[in-house]
Symmetry: C2
Subunit: 233 residues, 2 copies
DNA sequence: TGGCTGTATTTTGTATACAATAATAGATTA
DNA sequence: TAATCTATTATTGTATACAAAATACAGCCA
């Protein structure tokens, strides 16, 4: 009971829960905080603490944890609790090839759906990314890089693929936020994005796919070079 | 209360729960039943019923449902309950390309790890698949087809990729059990598997990858042709 | 007779109480 | 003084009680 003061303070730092089931809301709130790096890797998250902070019971918090654990945002230690995992290096090393493969597939499927509006969106996102990179606003550039690829692959017409990519990208996002100061090989990426859009405009689909593959592979190798790891491929 | 008789009967048909957390055990038991087709598509699954049948409370059953829903084995209808989804056609149509892409990636990564033991395993699995197809033991052939591809891709060295593929394959498995009488283009697949193993033995990696891609694409197109759907690619 | 509304029932969503277990700190002994 | 054993405590795992909401059915009215 004498905790009420600190609980109130903590509570103010959390977004209010509004719609949907409580479990979903807790999941979203917690995931955003973890992605944004507001919980240090290795930090333990306690059900009761979060429940108090959010003004809900342990049940929805547990549901959120179960989901977050399955998606890799927290680790579940049997009978010990949940903690934000460290090891972003191996995580990115494993995720990058998966995301790259699926994005190439999504792009192949999306090619027939490319239209003027999508191209305009892609250009706009890339201009924002360019500006962000120039100003060295690290995290913004990382997010915009993902937004660019999301805009393209979301046209693939395969709902399942879109959902899977969204989930994987959000995991990459967290690891990049934590391990990198800015988007991977940012300036180069902006240029490659422009080339990709131009190829799409000219209807040169093979070239576009090649550029996408190259862009994603370079993200991977740039990271590998940075951390000094041995590439698996 | 007068339901007790039917509950007791149902209970006898369920496997006993042994190790791990109850939530995990319920998840596994229920998933296996759904994959095996023991619950008709469209059938509603009630928390209390399952809890009674398994001799546990609703809490672990809820955890299992949450997981199954995220993985596509059940649908969650807000405030209505959970049901086994119908629509295997669109599900397979969306899953096949995803699995194919990731398996090609996994195979690329696994190539350096190929050794005599793996090749022997692959041959053995394919012989069993051949026998199963000859005897028209439908479901067994479907499972063995997955086992063959799993044996290869599990050598990729990317844990994350392995887990993702396992999850996706188990979903494909359910849909194939329900929508097909036997492995997709079974005889042809057995032959292609043999060719693939032979290429691996000769160290012709490019040829092996080409054969794998072809095998998976044909699975997809054979299904498309069977259901008369319009292929997305 | 057909459609609508209100109520009862069923089922999920949430909260809380209880059980089990692993970490921790303290005491005791060599 | 250090190490080990024990008791306490903190935290998850599970069960159950309670709340909310959606459906189905019956009764009523047009």
């Amino acid at each position: 009971m004498r905790r009420s003061a600190s609980v109130r303070v903590t509570r103010a730092r959390w977004p209010k829960l509004t719609t949907g089931t409580l479990g979903d809301q807790v999941y979203l709130a917690l995931r955003d905080r973890i992605i944004a790096g507001r919980h240090a890797p290795g930090e333990f998250l306690r059900e009761i603490e979060l429940a108090n902070a959010l003004g809900v019971s342990r049940t929805p918090v547990r549901e959120a944890f179960a989901r977050l654990a399955r998606e890799g945002f927290v680790e579940r230690l049997a009978r010990r609790g949940y903690r934000v995992p460290a090891e972003p290096v191996s995580g990115l090393l494993e995720l990058y090839p998966i995301v790259a493969s699926l994005e190439v597939l999504a792009a192949e499927l999306a090619l027939p759906q490319v239209d003027a509006r999508l191209l305009a969106d892609l250009r706009a996102i890339n201009r924002r990314m360019e500006a962000s990179v120039e100003r060295h606003e690290g995290p913004t550039g990382i997010a915009l890089n993902h937004e660019f690829h999301r805009a393209l692959s979301s046209r693939c017409g395969n709902k399942r693929l879109c959902e899977l990519l969204d989930e994987l990208r959000s995991q990459v996002l967290r690891l990049e936020y934590w391990s990198a100061d800015q988007a991977p090989h940012a300036e180069e990426a902006v240029r490659q994005h422009d080339e990709l859009v131009e190829a799409l405009e000219r209807g040169e689909y093979d070239a576009a796919l090649r550029l996408l593959r190259q862009n994603r592979l370079q993200t991977y190798f740039a990271f590998v070079a940075e951390v000094g790891a041995v590439p698996a491929t």
